[in-house]
C-alpha cells in the first residue's frame, strides 16, 4: 500500500446526495488487486478530522480510480466541494477482494453506499443478476431493467420493486450453484447472511466498521468472528480486523451482533 496525493479528475453528483469522483492515482492504481478493495482518504490538511475515511474502489481504469460516496457528515460534505485539479491524499489500495466469481453464477446486491464495490464487481461479471437498493428513486442513478437482470428497489416504491434487495432475492429462481456478493448496511447484510444459511448458498459480504488507520495498527475496526478461526493478519481469535482480513468475508465467517 501507498500514500499518494491523487489529483481529482472529476467530481459529480449522480443522484441526490450521491457523488462520483474520479482520481488520477498512478501509484495506488498500479497496486490494485480487484473488486472489494478500498482506499482511505484525507479530505483536508487540517487536523480537525484526524481520521481518514474509507471508501470502496468503484472502478479502476488505467491510472484512474473511481469512488462513489454519499454525503453523511463533514468529510463527505467537504469532498463534494472539491473540484477537478484539487488534490486528495489517499492511502491504498487496502483490504482483500471478492473471490470465486469467475466460476459460478453470481447475484450481486448493493444497498445504500454499499453499491461501489458491487458495481465494481459487476463490471467484471456482467452476466450477474444485479440488485441495487435505496430508500427512494432520487437516490438511484441506474435504470430498472429486469430483462437485463438489473433490479432496482426503493423502500417507498417510487422506482423499481417496492421493498428492499431481499424482496427481489427471495423471489429469484436460483439453484444452489450461485454465489451471492453483497455490500450495504448492517441489517441488509444480516438478512443476507440469514438467507444464505437458510438456502444453503454461499455469500460473500463486504462489511463496514469504524476504522482508525486501515493498516492494522490501531486494532479498532474489529468485528466478531463466527467460527473463531485464525486468519493470517490478526493475532486474535474472537475478532477479525476488517481493514486487513476484510472487508470481504464469507457470510458464515462473521457475526453482526
Amino acid at each position: 500500500m501507498i500514500i499518494e496525493n491523487a489529483m481529482i479528475v472529476s467530481n459529480v453528483e449522480i443522484a441526490i446526495g450521491i457523488w462520483q469522483m474520479t482520481l488520477l492515482a498512478p501509484e495506488v492504481s498500479s497496486h490494485y488487486k480487484g473488486p472489494g478493495q478500498f482506499i482511505n482518504i484525507l479530505s483536508a490538511d487540517s487536523w480537525e478530522h484526524p481520521v481518514r475515511r474509507p471508501m470502496s474502489i468503484a472502478n479502476v481504469n488505467g491510472e484512474n480510480i473511481n469512488i462513489i460516496y454519499k454525503i453523511f457528515g463533514n468529510v463527505t460534505q467537504q469532498l463534494s466541494q472539491k473540484v477537478p485539479g484539487d488534490s486528495l491524499n489517499i492511502l491504498g489500495p487496502l483490504g482483500n477482494v471478492f473471490t470465486g466469481w469467475k466460476t459460478k453464477r453470481t447475484v450481486l446486491l448493493g444497498g445504500g453506499v454499499g453499491l461501489a464495490p458491487i458495481l465494481n464487481l459487476y463490471e467484471s461479471c456482467p452476466n450477474s443478476t444485479l440488485i441495487i437498493g435505496a430508500r427512494t428513486a432520487d437516490e438511484h442513478f441506474m435504470e430498472h431493467e429486469p430483462g437485463k437482470n438489473i433490479f432496482l428497489t426503493t423502500d417507498d416504491g417510487s422506482l423499481g420493486v417496492a421493498g428492499n434487495v431481499l424482496t427481489v432475492l427471495e423471489n429469484l429462481d436460483f439453484n444452489d450453484q450461485i454465489i451471492i456478493y453483497a455490500c450495504g448496511p448492517k441489517p441488509m447484510l444480516k438478512a443476507i447472511q440469514h438467507f444464505a444459511a437458510k438456502n444453503s448458498v454461499k455469500a460473500q459480504l463486504s462489511v463496514e466498521s469504524y476504522m482508525g488507520c486501515g493498516l492494522g495498527l490501531c486494532q479498532g475496526c474489529v468485528i466478531e468472528r463466527q467460527n473463531e478461526q485464525m486468519k493470517k493478519h490478526s493475532y486474535h481469535e474472537k475478532y477479525t480486523l476488517v481493514c486487513m482480513d476484510g472487508p470481504v468475508y464469507w457470510s458464515n465467517e462473521v457475526c453482526f451482533g
Binding site: 481520521v51 469504524y210 495498527l217 479498532g220 486474535h236 451482533g257
Partner: protein
C-alpha cells in the same frame, strides 16, 4: 545555504537515542507492520503496544470514534500475550536498527513482574520498558497503580530491582495531582516518566441517543489533548529530576518544540501515525532544520518556556 545535520541525540538513563522522536504505544503495532510505508530505522525509538501476561482479545466493537481534532478509543489492550511476543516478535527486533521499548500492562503487581521477568530471562534487542499504569479502557489496565502514589512507588521499585534496562513509568492525566505520581515513580527508581496516556472521554450520537463506544468511556487522543499534555509535562518538570517523555497530540515539529519547552527531553507521536505512518520522519527532518536555523541544542531548550510578559 546548506547545514550540517544537527545533533538530535539524547540520553535517557544509560541509553543514547539518535533522536528524541519516538512512536507511542498502541499506535505503531508491534513495530514492524509499517516497513512498507516508513523507514523505521530513522525513528528515535519504537514503543510497542502494551503486552500482558496472557493474550487479550480486547473490547467488543465499536472501539473507535473520531471527535473534534481527536479520537476516542477503547481497544482494551488487545495483544498476543508475553509468550507469543517472545517467540514471534523478539526475533524480528534483532537487526531492526531502532531501539525497541516494550510497553507492559498488568492488573496486579505480580502480572507486571512476571511479564518483565519473562523478558529478562531471554536475550533480546529490547532497550527498556515503558510501564503502562494509565490505561483508562480496561478495569484491570493498571489505572489503580497510576492513580495511587504508594502503589506507583512500590511497583516501580519492584520492577527496578529486576532489571537494569531502561524503566519508564507512563503516567495518566486522569489524576488529581500528576506531579506526586511522577515523584513516586522517581523515588521508586524509574529512569524516566512518559506523559500522557489518553484522557477519559465519551462520545454520544444524539440521533440514536447511544454511546458511540461499546464501553461507554474511552481514551481521548490526538491534537485535542495537546494542551493537557503540555500542562502535565510542565507540572511534572517542576517536581522531578529524571527525564520526561512528552506525549499527546503531537502532529508536527512545532508541537515537538513546545513539549521540549514545557520540559520534555523526548516525545512520542501516537494518533498522528494512523493518518500518516511516515509522519515522524517528516517531523524529524523539520526538527533538524529548526535546530540548525535557531542555532540551539535540544538540551538547552528543555523546560525553557518563558513566562508571558
Amino acid at each position: 545555504m546548506r547545514f550540517a545535520l544537527a545533533d538530535l541525540s539524547i540520553q535517557i538513563g544509560h541509553i543514547r537515542f539518535n533522536n528524541p522522536v519516538f512512536v507511542a504505544s498502541g499506535t505503531f503495532g508491534y513495530g514492524t507492520e509499517n516497513k512498507e510505508l516508513v523507514d523505521v530505522s530513522k525513528l528515535g525509538a519504537i514503543v510497542t503496544k502494551s503486552i500482558t501476561l496472557n493474550p487479550r482479545e480486547g473490547n467488543p466493537p465499536p472501539r473507535l470514534v473520531e471527535t473534534p481534532s481527536g479520537m476516542i478509543n477503547s481497544i482494551g489492550l488487545a495483544n498476543i500475550g508475553v509468550d507469543k511476543y517472545i517467540s514471534d516478535m523478539l526475533p524480528v527486533y534483532e537487526g531492526i536498527g531502532t531501539p525497541i521499548i516494550m510497553n507492559i500492562a498488568g492488573s496486579s503487581m505480580d502480572e507486571y513482574i512476571s511479564v518483565l521477568e519473562k523478558i529478562e530471562s531471554v536475550s533480546s534487542a529490547i532497550v527498556g520498558y515503558e510501564i503502562n499504569i494509565s490505561c483508562p479502557n480496561v478495569k484491570e489496565g493498571g489505572m489503580q497503580f497510576g492513580i495511587d502514589c504508594s502503589m506507583t512507588e512500590s511497583l516501580t521499585s519492584a520492577l527496578r530491582k529486576r532489571t537494569e534496562k531502561l524503566l519508564i513509568m507512563k503516567l495518566s492525566p486522569n489524576v488529581t495531582d500528576i506531579s506526586s505520581i511522577a515523584t513516586s515513580a522517581e523515588n521508586g527508581g524509574a529512569d524516566a516518566v512518559s506523559a500522557i496516556n489518553t484522557v477519559v472521554g465519551m462520545s454520544i450520537d444524539h440521533k440514536t441517543a447511544k454511546s458511540n463506544i461499546y464501553t461507554t468511556f474511552g481514551g481521548l487522543s490526538g491534537p485535542a489533548i495537546k494542551p493537557i499534555g503540555l500542562a502535565c509535562v510542565h507540572k511534572v518538570f517542576h517536581s522531578i529530576t529524571i527525564p520526561i517523555i512528552g506525549i499527546g497530540g503531537i502532529v508536527n515539529t512545532g508541537d515537538v518544540v513546545e513539549y521540549i519547552l514545557a520540559g520534555a527531553k523526548a516525545v512520542q507521536v501516537g494518533t498522528a501515525n494512523f493518518r500518516d505512518p511516515g509522519i515522524c520522519v517528516k517531523i524529524l527532518n523539520n526538527l533538524d532544520l529548526y535546530i540548525n536555523k535557531h542555532n540551539i541544542t535540544l538540551n538547552n531548550l528543555i523546560g525553557s518556556v518563558k513566562q508571558y510578559d
